[in-house]
């Protein structure tokens, strides 16, 4: 319990923990979908405080981790073109492609820039009319409005030298993929608060209905997580399966309608490859044909071989919650944050990296 004093509201934490302890009478497995939540659960030592028969499974909640190898190779291919300035979020740079990472490519001279926002990339395109600026647009639904907005801005400004390499993934289809997998024993989900701040709650009702599985939209702070877990456990124990919103101070039931219509204007849903998991139908966004001039996939001839995943990495099973990171034979041996074999070891939100960094707080290791 050494972590408790660091919390903003230690009394509340105690109170929720007590209630969770009292509520749990049988073993349950709950998956948190969002990598930010994984990070918070591990870093704050919450996993240690939960009752033994309550298992938290860390879902595929890190868009960087599930970006396919092939797409990273494409980004590297583009970055190494003389005329291209390739931009992305910092997390993306260290992820290994089939031969190297963007960071390694940068070290050998490719013009790769880490940006905080895709809107900065549009600015860069405006300032560098003789160059091609490509934004490697990774993210969940939370990031889709920013990426869509960059396309809208570039279009309005009449820019011909801006495009995005879209690598978007969606949360509800990932929940379906987990539920459809016979090996998975997940019985309930904490859904990602900031994703729902954009998308609202509507998409989750059909999931609750179809799979009879409790889904609780939850924030990422310790008190939020504990409250979300408590709400979930109460449903499980009473045999209910409802959608509940723990994070209502931020998440409205219709999300942000302006953001949703912006996403629809620029993107359409497509089938999508998830690294380590495989193809999930209707689980990503691609640029609509109206904006095809801004789609790096169409703008450039990208001529590369289809890459093969590293066979030693069991990221797929980790991301679906079938195995824990420390059950991977490579964990902490061949695979460390400094020499990652798979993407979940790279991003700070990846399940393997979260476990590695805070391994001492974990049990059974």
């Amino acid at each position: 319990m050494k972590y408790l004093t660091e919390y903003r509201k230690p009394e509340l934490v105690e109170q929720y923990l007590d209630q969770i302890n009292q509520s749990v009478t049988r073993p349950w497995t709950i998956m948190e979908v969002c990598g930010g939540q994984t990070h918070s659960l591990v870093k704050n030592g919450i996993l240690d405080m939960l009752p033994k028969n309550l298992q938290m499974i860390h879902g595929p909640g890190c868009p960087v981790c599930v970006t396919p190898l092939n797409l990273i190779d494409k980004a590297i291919y583009l970055a190494e073109k003389k005329e291209v300035i390739l931009c992305s979020f910092g997390d993306m740079l260290r992820v290994p492609g089939s031969k190297k990472s963007l960071l390694e490519s940068k070290a050998t001279g490719a013009d790769i820039r880490i940006l905080y926002s895709p809107l900065e990339a549009v600015k860069l395109a405006k300032e560098n009319p003789e160059r091609e600026v490509v934004f490697f647009a990774v993210g969940f639904e939370t990031t889709a409005p920013a990426n869509a907005l960059s396309v809208v801005h570039a279009n309005r400004a009449g820019l011909k030298n801006y495009s995005i390499l879209a690598s978007h993934v969606l949360v509800p289809p990932a929940i379906e993929a987990v539920m459809d997998d016979d090996e998975s024993h997940v019985k309930a989900f904490l859904a990602a608060g900031h994703v729902c701040a954009i998308m609202g709650l509507d998409e989750y009702y059909p999931l609750v209905e179809k799979y009879k599985v409790p889904v609780v939209v939850t924030g990422f702070e310790p008190v939020d997580l504990l409250q979300g877990i408590l709400m979930t456990v109460r449903q499980l124990e009473s045999g209910e399966a409802k959608l509940e919103n723990q994070y209502s101070r931020v998440v409205q039931s219709d999300g942000n309608p302006a953001a949703r219509s912006l996403i629809q204007q620029v993107f359409q849903v497509n089938d999508r490859e998830w690294r380590g998991i495989g193809s999930i139908s209707k689980s990503g966004y691609e640029v609509r044909s109206e904006f095809s001039n801004f789609d790096a996939n169409l703008k450039f001839q990208i001529d590369i071989e289809e890459a093969v995943e590293n066979g030693e990495c069991i990221a797929g099973q980790v991301l679906k919650g079938i195995k824990k990171p420390y059950e991977c034979p490579q964990f902490g041996e061949k695979c460390k944050p400094s020499t990652p074999l798979g993407a979940p070891m790279v991003s700070s939100e990846g399940a393997c990296a979260a476990y590695y960094h805070f391994a001492t707080a974990m049990e059974g290791m």
Partner: protein
């Protein structure tokens, strides 16, 4: 990378090129630009959740302070320093 960070709107200007309202938002003293297109009702002095340079919702001051403090404690503000 999926977290949205709360900050306070210090000033607002309209960018003629893109016809958008952009704000200077202070995150504990670090100033960043954020588009206000998705929160058209936001004004100077309001607190907004910002993700990747776009404000996605308005939050109250207390929530903003608490969340910011928490993100700082767990070291999740690095991305503000990037770029």
């Amino acid at each position: 990378m999926c977290l949205a960070i709360p900050g306070k709107i210090k000033s607002i200007e309209t960018l003629e090129d893109y016809l958008v309202r952009m704000a200077k938002v202070s995150f504990g003293g670090i100033l960043k630009e954020a588009s206000l297109e998705l929160v058209p009702e936001a004004n100077e002095g309001d607190y907004v959740l910002v993700h990747a340079g776009v404000a996605i919702s308005i939050v109250d001051e207390e929530e903003a302070h608490k969340t910011f403090q928490y993100l700082k404690e767990i070291g999740e503000l690095d991305e503000l320093e990037e770029g």
